[in-house]
């Protein structure tokens, strides 16, 4: 990249932990245009190595920013951590909040490509161009201790991402925690760090992102802020800004799609007294958010503990039969300190409870979580445990990743989105809840597959763009790529419309399908647990929660494959890969 680069820094840092060698790479402008940044660029760097086991030194851990990081574009503080998942074997990227990506960008780097295995536990310490690999005695410490030790007296000027004991002890559901309260939670990315003997990354950056047209960026910002102010889900009095993501809790209950007792029911009688309002009354949390965000959906209790997100609220209560709100707070805090994904942890507890028939007491619940993060067998996730009991059908997972807190029988688009997700049982790839429940951009019929295949495909492409710019998906309850395309062009000087960005999103997502196919994933993996096709949810109040119609689901999946340009087994095709400029080294092609 030349000195006149806007938006991007034009530099990616390659770090080999085994040799401690580092090198700056200067990607061609065409590569940035082709993959944008964040999830897109990380996927580009992952692909040549995507079939390597997570224990192999050449498998990279990618940490990437996007062109909007470090600018006034709303919600532009997020970044991507990506590698291959030790939980699923599929690709795994996580959008991480806090200020990690902003500091990395300000330090002058678009991304980090970390390979090799260090002989001893280390941290990577970045202060602008000064990058050091430092042996550390923090191995074994919980995440909160690492943050306190490394932030020093100027916590606002540094970002720290770390793993906790769960990763060090081999948990496949280990997360990476950033800046105390923000998780790259899913898929066991923390374990990949641990396998490289990488404990933490700390970053201090003092540079600025160069903006091509500040006036146009301010105009785009104003349009986005205006739309978010008009969004009940974001800035409304019952929205995320006031209550956190937990504000969805009441809706999931009233819509009869709250996963209960390991997804065997969809209504939890105690839900009304465990909602966001109850947490607010009890803990009086304060607002907190990622760098560059005005929504501030994260909530923090006065004692410094992060309040549970919606999925955690739901999975640590309804899914496992717990009615103790304070136990949820303790469990959430324990997971954050150990560095463990709360969604997979909760769903794994639920699977264990169903198979063993043992209810949890407060003591056994916390002890079981602690054991998960200490090398216990449940740390491998629900599918590993269920298979060991020869009851794999009781693992509520897709591709081995546990489902989050939206029962697919209550939103058919969500069922398709879960099954198609490239990283497994994730709700955020297409997030049909946006239109099936939250009515944005318009409401759709949640009990039909009609039209959902294309909707899911378009949303996956759009969210791939959002995770590459980078921005927060929640903002898209209100704004659209139309406004963010304007921001992107204002920042980078690269002309782009919303639909041109969607074409890039299609490329980014298809690249992930190619990588998964190279690891043997096909239609057999694009599926839901059999429970959802054979057992009803909890009907009532005029709402019928029926089992999903298997034939309709398969037809929707077939439509999705056709729309996505996959073959009938869900594998990428050479023609589509060529059309998207992804033909090089297309190991995964059919």
């Amino acid at each position: 990249m030349s000195q006149t680069t806007f938006g991007w820094t034009g530099k990616v840092l390659l770090i080999d932990l085994a040799t401690q060698e580092m090198a700056a790479q200067y990607p061609a402008p065409a590569l940035y245009k082709k993959f944008i940044g964040g999830k897109g660029l990380a996927g580009y760097y992952l692909r040549p190595y995507c079939t390597l086991e997570t224990t192999e030194p050449d498998l990279p851990v990618l940490v990437f920013t996007g062109p909007l990081n470090g600018t006034i574009a709303p919600t532009s503080g997020r970044g991507t951590i990506m590698s291959r998942s030790p939980l699923t074997g599929a690709i795994c990227d996580a959008s991480v909040g806090g200020k990690l990506a902003t500091q990395l960008k300000r330090a002058g780097w678009d991304g980090l490509v970390i390979t090799g295995i260090s002989r001893a536990p280390v941290g990577i310490e970045i202060v602008n161009d000064d990058v050091r690999i430092v042996e550390t005695d923090l191995w074994g410490e919980t995440c909160d201790v690492v943050f306190d030790r490394l932030e020093g007296d100027t916590p606002s000027a540094v970002s720290v991402a770390t793993i906790g004991p769960a990763a060090e002890n081999g948990a496949s559901i280990a997360s990476v925690m950033a800046d105390h309260h923000h998780a790259a939670g899913r898929g066991g990315l923390g374990l990949v760090w641990a396998q490289k003997n990488l404990k933490y990354i700390s970053i201090r950056g003092t540079g600025k992102t160069r903006v091509h047209d500040m006036a146009a960026l301010k105009e785009a910002r104003e349009e986005i802020l205006r739309l978010t102010a008009a969004s009940p889900a974001l800035l409304g009095q019952h929205g995320f800004s006031c209550w956190g993501t937990g504000s969805i809790f009441d809706l999931m209950d009233s819509r009869r799609m709250m996963p209960t007792d390991n997804f065997s029911k969809t209504r939890f009688p105690d839900a009304p007294r465990l909602n966001a309002a109850a947490y607010q009354r009890t803990y009086k949390p304060k607002r907190h958010g990622c760098k560059g965000c005005h929504i501030l959906c994260k909530k923090v209790a006065p004692d410094g503990r992060a309040m549970p997100e919606f999925e955690t609220m739901s999975h640590f209560t309804a899914l496992i039969g717990n009615t103790d709100m304070d136990l949820v707070m303790q469990a959430n805090d324990l997971c954050n300190r150990l560095g463990m994904d709360t969604i997979s942890a909760g769903a794994t507890l639920a699977c264990y409870r169903e198979i063993t028939g043992e209810d949890f007491t407060p003591r056994t619940l916390l002890k079981t979580l602690y054991d998960m993060g200490s090398g216990g067998f449940l740390g491998k996730g629900s599918l590993d445990f269920a298979e060991s009991c020869r009851q794999s059908h009781r693992s509520m997972s897709v591709k081995g990743m546990e489902l989050s807190a939206y029962d697919p029988r209550g939103a058919y688009g969500m069922s398709l989105a879960y099954a198609m997700s490239t990283r497994g049982g994730c709700h955020l790839r297409a997030y049909p809840v946006s239109h099936e429940i939250l009515r944005k951009p318009v409401a759709t019929d949640r009990f039909t597959f009609s039209g959902k295949a294309r909707i899911v495909k378009i949303a996956e492409d759009a969210n791939a763009v959002v995770d590459s710019l980078t921005a927060c998906k929640f903002t898209f309850f209100a704004a659209s790529l139309e406004e963010y395309a304007k921001a992107f062009t204002a920042v980078t000087g690269v002309p782009a419309s919303a639909h041109e960005l969607l074409e890039t999103g299609e490329r980014i997502y298809y690249n992930e399908r190619i990588m998964n196919a190279a690891n043997g994933f096909d239609a057999c993996d694009d599926d839901l647990p059999p429970r959802f096709f054979t057992e009803p949810g909890t009907s009532g109040g005029g709402i019928e929660i029926n089992p999903l119609d298997r034939e309709e689901f398969l037809n929707a999946r077939k439509n999705y494959y056709a729309i996505r340009g996959l073959d009938e087994e869900g594998r990428p095709t050479r023609d589509k890969a060529r059309e998207l400029g992804l033909e090089t080294d297309a190991e995964g092609e059919a």
Binding site: G246, S254, L438, P441
Partner: protein, 390 residues
């Protein structure tokens, strides 16, 4: 998809946006694995190509009914590339409206890559959806609304300057001649007592249908609420007022639940009105002449020109009805800050460039009568003011 395409084509006709049948009726395509249209038309072949150029799942095309067709053709001639209305729907959602000269897929794709709707003079309006044909219907409807407001606003402004040209005068006279007669007789809506939740929900659905059928709101904009003790029942965000069954959220005023997550973006403003005044219900529509009159200002050199919708400091009224600034929803410039005291004290208020809110002391009959009376007065006042300038 086809039933959805047919539904919104029928809705556009019912709301007077398009013809009900024939070549000028709405043409709506929906695409999942296969592309389907609500009806056969020779133009489907060209429009089908638009799907290949955009990541969309639906397309809406129609020549608007009169007087809208005359209006958009006139504005497209006057603003040959981009039309920039200044009403709230445009500012918030459309931003501006591109004009394309050619009815070709290439030209339509080029315009829709940037914006939600495009005007093709002499042909009509094309808009799209990525989730549902409803989006295309909403963008089509908003385009028509915004152009109507701009056409009448610009004419008044030109009259103030004393420079109405011959073409504008001719177009204006043609449009005015085709305006429907104002309706003056309000409907008979449910009366007190509404002593059960079912009765409240039914009364709300009935009032919503009346607001739409009287042409006092377009597409899915507008909202309404009813207070029952300490619960506010309010229409959901993005709900069509003529289809409110199942789309009303009960929101406790003590914030003990967050069911209002899907409630109208104006929930805060409604609640504040109920806290300030002893009223039972609130109606909010986007009646066109109320919006036009709210934007009519005789201070062309005001330093806040262009920012009136958030920064106007004048105590403006229209025949005693307060006109307040404020943007949709919350935030420091949100109408939740300006609207409640105005409605509480006057029983009605117009938000600049946006719409009209009215309250009812007993039931929706009160609120509806005020809504209709204010809009009719706004229409009469527009022409009185215009004549005084000519």
């Amino acid at each position: 998809m086809k039933p959805l395409c047919e539904k919104y084509a029928a809705k556009m006709a019912a709301q007077g946006l398009t013809a009900a049948d024939g070549p000028d009726s709405a043409l709506i395509g929906g695409l999942d694995a296969q592309l389907v249209w609500n009806r056969d038309d020779s133009r489907c072949r060209e429009l089908a190509k638009v799907f290949a150029g955009l990541s969309i799942n639906s397309l809406v095309f129609a020549r608007p009914a009169e007087p809208y067709a005359t209006i958009i053709d006139f504005l497209a001639a006057r603003y040959p590339e981009i039309i920039r209305p200044e009403d709230t729907e445009t500012r918030t959602f459309l931003h501006d409206i591109p004009v394309s000269r050619d009815f070709t897929a290439e030209a339509i794709v080029a315009a829709l890559k940037k914006r939600k709707a495009v005007i093709i003079p002499g042909q009509g309006i094309v808009s799209y959806g990525t989730v549902s044909p409803e989006q295309g219907f909403v963008f089509f409807s908003s385009t028509v609304f915004a152009c109507f407001v701009l056409f009448f606003s610009d004419y008044m402004t030109a009259a103030r300057r004393g420079d109405i040209d011959k073409d504008y005068r001719a177009a204006f006279e043609a449009v005015v001649a085709q305006l429907p007669e104002p309706r003056t007789e309000p409907p008979a809506l449910a009366t007190e007592p509404l002593d059960s939740e079912d009765a409240i929900l039914a009364a709300m659905a009935e009032a919503g249908r009346a607001v739409v059928s009287y042409g006092l709101v377009d597409s899915f904009f507008g909202n309404l609420s009813w207070r029952d003790k300490d619960t506010v029942y309010i229409s959901q965000t993005g709900s069509s007022l003529d289809e409110l069954e199942g789309c009303i959220d009960p929101c406790p005023m003590d914030n003990s639940t967050t069911h209002g997550l899907t409630a109208s973006s104006e929930l805060s403003a409604h609640e504040d009105v109920y806290r300030r005044a002893d009223v039972r219900c609130i109606l909010h529509g986007h009646p066109k002449f109320s919006v036009i009159m709210s934007m009519d200002c005789d201070k062309p050199d005001c330093e806040l020109r262009g920012q009136c919708h958030v920064k106007c400091r004048e105590c403006r009224t229209m025949d005693g009805i307060p006109i307040v600034p404020g943007e949709v929803g919350t935030g420091p410039t949100g109408l939740c800050n300006t609207l409640p005291p105005a409605v509480a004290s006057s029983g009605a208020a117009i938000v600049h460039g946006h719409g009209l809110f009215t309250s009812g002391a007993r039931d929706f009959n009160d609120a509806f009568k005020t809504l209709l009376a204010v809009e009719n007065r706004a229409r009469a006042l527009y022409f009185e003011r215009l004549h005084s300038l000519l």
